[in-house]
């Protein structure tokens, strides 16, 4: 019998297991920026006229919230779109989207924590149904839902497509949730108290610290995103190596015409992932 194709050796180029230089640099810069923010925020800048020391939370809370919503959400949505678009389809986008959602979830949770820390001294309760907090809570739940979906075992291509669609649906839902919760709140109470007042323009150093906070958290976000992405790549690499082994085993199964029961457990009545 003429030889048909031998098992194709998939790309076994070594995947780098050390952090790329540029990512480490970003991480270090982020830590430095964070250190400066803390120093400036806690010691150098004066307390706010009306809110006192509580206003110092302003240096971190809005940046965290911005990262959670715009950076993470934006990257996830864009990456999902690029994955679904046939011309740009590549697992790079799938992994990037998944990483963005996970890191975004961390930042959403932090938003809730910092918001709650503010609310306690200011209002006496740990939680308030303020518009931003509430919609952030919903956002966190949406992100957790995505993560739950991603952990369901499936073929990589199928999982990628399913999660890409889910991420897009989440992205579409976020503005809807935002608006509706805002209306819900403002129509009855009148403005959220956590709105970062732009009275910062009054004090120069506060403004700079505010900006520095944004930069610091953005850098941290990029670093975390990169690290999470690398974990995905390494996980998939391990999976690919396992696939090669299985492929070779299956190949030899054919050679030996093994009797029923030998070889990998594959019942020909249901192969699981129908495309």
């Amino acid at each position: 019998m003429s030889a048909t194709l031998a098992p194709q050796s998939s790309s076994t180029e070594s995947v780098r297991t050390s952090t790329p230089r540029w990512l480490s640099v970003i991480g270090i810069l982020g830590v430095i920026a964070m250190a400066f923010t803390v120093w400036l925020g806690l010691w150098i800048t004066p307390p706010d006229v009306t809110q006192g020391n509580l206003a110092r939370l302003l240096y971190i809370h809005p940046p965290i919230a911005t990262v959670a919503l715009y950076w993470a959400g934006g990257v996830a949505a864009l990456a999902s779109l690029l994955y679904l678009w046939p011309r740009t389809r590549s697992f790079f986008w799938d992994r990037l989207a998944a990483s963005a959602v996970e890191v975004g979830a961390v930042f959403s949770a932090l938003t809730l924590v910092t918001g709650s820390l503010w609310g306690r001294p200011a209002w006496g309760t740990w939680w308030t149904w303020d518009a931003r907090l509430t919609s952030t809570a919903l956002l966190l739940l949406l992100e957790i839902g995505y993560m739950a979906l991603r952990r369901v075992p499936a073929e990589p291509a199928i999982r990628a497509r399913r999660c890409a669609v889910a991420a897009l649906l989440v992205a579409i839902d976020v503005p809807i949730v935002h608006f509706s919760v805002n209306w819900w709140n403002t129509l009855h109470q009148g403005g959220t108290f956590l709105d970062p007042g732009f009275k910062l323009h009054a004090h120069g150093s506060m403004l700079w610290t505010f900006l520095l906070g944004f930069i610091a958290f953005t850098l941290i976000f990029v670093w975390l995103l990169g690290m999470r992405y690398r974990i995905e790549v390494l996980q998939d690499h391990v999976g690919d190596q396992e696939l090669e082994v299985t492929l070779a085993e299956r190949w030899h199964e054919g050679d030996e015409l093994a009797p029923v029961g030998a070889g990998p457990v594959g019942v020909d009545s249901d192969d699981g992932g129908a495309a």
Binding site: M1, V267, D270
Partner: protein, 255 residues
Amino acid sequence: MAPVVQFRAAVALAGRFPALAGVDLSLETGEVVVVVGANGAGKTSLLRACAGLLAVTSGQADVLGVDLTQDHTAVRRHVGLLGHAAPLYDELNAAENVRFAVRALGLGAGAGDAALERLGLVGRLRTTPVGRLSAGQRRRVALAALIARRPALWLLDEPHAGLDATARTLLAEVIGEAVADGATVLLSSHEPELSIPLSDRVATMAGGRITAQSAGGRSRTVHPRPALATVLDPTAAPAADSVATKGTMGAWHVA
């Protein structure tokens, strides 16, 4: 004439598992090919790949002129798959199930009636909700739905399983009629004594590949029955005088 099915080194994955690990197979119009092999060899996967349900990730896979590696959904309406699980809605009766299948293709509702009659699904069998029928009867309903759609390529996964003797004869007749009309049939089977006489060619599958092909048992009154154990080089074109391939040149017997 372009072959109805043309697979070369086709690989299809189910999760991380290579269900098809390099399949070479081609079918011409009007051929009946039976695939045999142990459990797990990939017979069902092969049928599902031909139906466009299982994506072929590498190699060549053309069915009815459609390149499955590019768009595997385009071929679906032109094939008829009879799988292990019948595509039937339990709460609906046979007539309603067939009517749904037929109207999905845009055909008139009456197109299914002939098929139901041909398979003897009349009276009580026609009006009872399918969930209350026996497994063999459900298989017959699924077959009726398939016939009613008149697909160019039939994909039957162990069609004899669960059918009684009458139904098996019916199946053989129905396949013969379809092939006479120009359909092509690919079926898998664990029962060679039933399936080989129906077929022009027998392909053996193991480990996700076709490992051997031999002549089938489809006899013709004009030409002598070819030897059963002839092993063909799967990559060469079939010689004119070897295995019976196209057309019915005579009565078609169940051996």
